[in-house]
């Protein structure tokens, strides 16, 4: 009688695989969590594969390679059995540098991702939930933060902060502060739509405390959006840091993929044809960004289930249209026979 039965087959049955999501609030696992995991598709598998391999390389690589700073007299040699990715102008092992640089970039990405997500969550979700003056103030603040340009700001900051104390955390903080606002606006819009749903009103009417309403009733429904914003923040941070480092404004005490490119450019790697020096870090950034983007697309499918079925839907629609055409053709043929 009702058409609910058609929807009852839970999509959970086909859900597999881990998801690259930030940790949710520490409530006990419920069946609800499973619906938040994206469906495993080839694209998601590639994305996860790339991200996991690169992350492992960033974590384990530095433990296995030698000192990346050691100077040898074998400058600018191509890939060989001894140096897998060749050496730099000053004879440093590019592969060792790549391992440490990947770790540095991942650190920046993770720190910025967490800080930016926390900031956007606070200003976006809490403001929208409270409404009224709080929301207006938070919203205004987000809008102001949104138009602060990251690059000029960091140039200004680098003018104030001496180079030796311009560490990884400083760069990460600046990147986080300039990148949370867009996510906050997205989260605010989502929260506003969830906040006005009856189940939020119902839980308030049953006497639930505000923080519990936010954390238990609203937040789970925002998790896919938050995860997607987190992944996006990580990509943006790694790219942003690489850009800053490339123009010489990176962190002074750590090596990242950006600083590697900076030194490669300073060492005229391009004009000397030393491709093994600048291609690996560039490729690493590109592949990591691609992996995260592929994961993000899969998360988008949870946020908008229509995307999930788009391809299947199209295929089925084509088949239906074909069958219908055949039917009318048969009908016309019968008509002609008569």
């Amino acid at each position: 009688m009702t058409n609910v039965t058609a929807q009852t087959q839970p999509a959970a049955a086909e859900l597999t695989g881990p998801a690259a999501e930030p940790d949710g609030p520490g409530t006990r696992a419920r069946p609800g969590w499973r619906s938040l995991l994206p469906t495993m598709t080839p694209w998601l598998a590639i994305g996860l594969g790339l991200v996991i391999v690169i992350t492992l390389f960033g974590i384990l690589g530095p433990l296995l390679v030698g000192d990346p700073q050691r100077i040898r007299d074998q400058g600018l040699t191509g890939p060989s059995a001894q140096f897998w990715l060749g050496t730099t102008q000053t004879g440093q092992d590019v592969f060792a540098q790549l391992a440490f640089a990947t770790r540095g970039s991942l650190e920046i990405g993770a720190i910025v991702g967490v800080i930016a997500t926390a900031l956007s969550g606070f200003f976006g979700i809490y403001g929208a939930y409270r409404g009224g003056v709080v929301d207006e103030a938070f919203s205004l603040f987000s809008n102001v933060a949104l138009v602060i340009p990251g690059l000029p700001l960091i140039i200004v900051i680098s003018g104030f902060v001496p180079r030796e104390s311009r560490g990884l955390w400083t760069i990460a903080l600046v990147l986080a502060v300039t990148s949370w606002a867009a996510s906050a606006r997205v989260l605010r819009a989502q929260t506003l739509s969830v906040r006005h749903r009856d189940y939020v009103a119902a839980s308030r009417a049953s006497g639930e405390k505000p923080w519990r309403v936010i954390v238990v009733e609203i937040l789970p429904n925002l998790l896919p959006v938050i995860a997607s914003q987190f992944v996006f923040a990580v990509i943006a941070a790694i790219l942003g840091e690489a850009g800053l480092a490339f123009i010489g404004l990176g962190a002074s005490n750590s090596s990242t993929l950006g600083t590697m490119l900076f030194y490669a450019q300073n060492g005229f790697a391009l004009s000397l044809g030393a491709w093994w020096w600048f291609v690996p870090p560039g490729l690493m950034i590109a592949l990591f960004g691609m992996g995260l983007s592929l994961i993000n697309f899969s998360i988008d499918e949870i946020i908008n289930p229509k995307l999930k079925n788009l391809r299947r839907h199209r295929r089925l629609a084509k088949r239906a249209a074909r069958l219908e055409r055949e039917l009318t053709r048969r009908g016309a043929a019968q008509e002609a026979d008569r």
Partner: protein, 308 residues
Amino acid sequence: MTTVHVTDLVKDYSIRSGLRRRRLRAVDHVSLDLVPGRTVALVGESGSGKSTIAKILTRMEKPTSGTVEVALDDGTPVRGPMYLRQVQMVFQDPFASLNPFHSIEHHIARPLLIHERTRTAAQTHERVLEMLERVNLTPAETIAPRRPHELSGGQRQRVAIARALAPGAQVLIADEPVSMLDVSIRLGVLNLLGRLQREDRLAVLYITHDLATARHFSDEIVVLYRGRVVERGPADAVILDPHHDYTKLLAQAAPDPERGPERVTAEAVIDRDAIDNSVCYDHFLGEWVQAGTPAARGARAGRAGQPA
């Protein structure tokens, strides 16, 4: 047993259009009483203020003026956090009022825990199953772990009713509880509400635009038009013998096959624009009164003589 006295309720919304602010009076001096074991139907079109009254009663909105007094049998006033333990609401849309993320058990367990009806996890679980059985969701063991999208509309609304009763509420505000359900399920849900009301001697405010169910499901009908009460009285009297033009218009508009098909083409005799909402016919008093404060006092005084 809990009684609710609503006196002189006024709710203004300020609407901003451009730089100007306009005041919109959604509820205009409404008074009504809810007593144990009786159902009051609040009838009116959308925008008449029905839902605003429901929101004020469940403390989701603050009234601009007027009072809502809730008292236990012995006259103890209900205040603060105790209020929501006594007064609960069933929402219109069962597809929106349950969180898609959480299990059915969560929805009923939370109010139990918030209002400290149960203490241990095992106790809570048992109580949840009990509640589900009370609203005819059986087998409760298999329903409890499911999530809302696995249930039909009627089943969801039963869950919503169980949730509302979980804190031990004695006053139930039902805001169009069946209007989003398929027609063949509606009666079942209304009959369920009726049974629960008899069992627990609940005071029920049934908000609806459907005159037919209002007549049969409630003891008393209050007709609301543009924020004001324009007619009140025993259910049958209001529907079968409407006095106010607006009530007549509503009764005329409601489909009623038994009155024959020629009714469709009959021109409306009542001019909608000429309807006056400043007067109210009170069937308890048997006379016209001014809408607003005096009407309410009169009505209550009149009912004092009646057996509850």
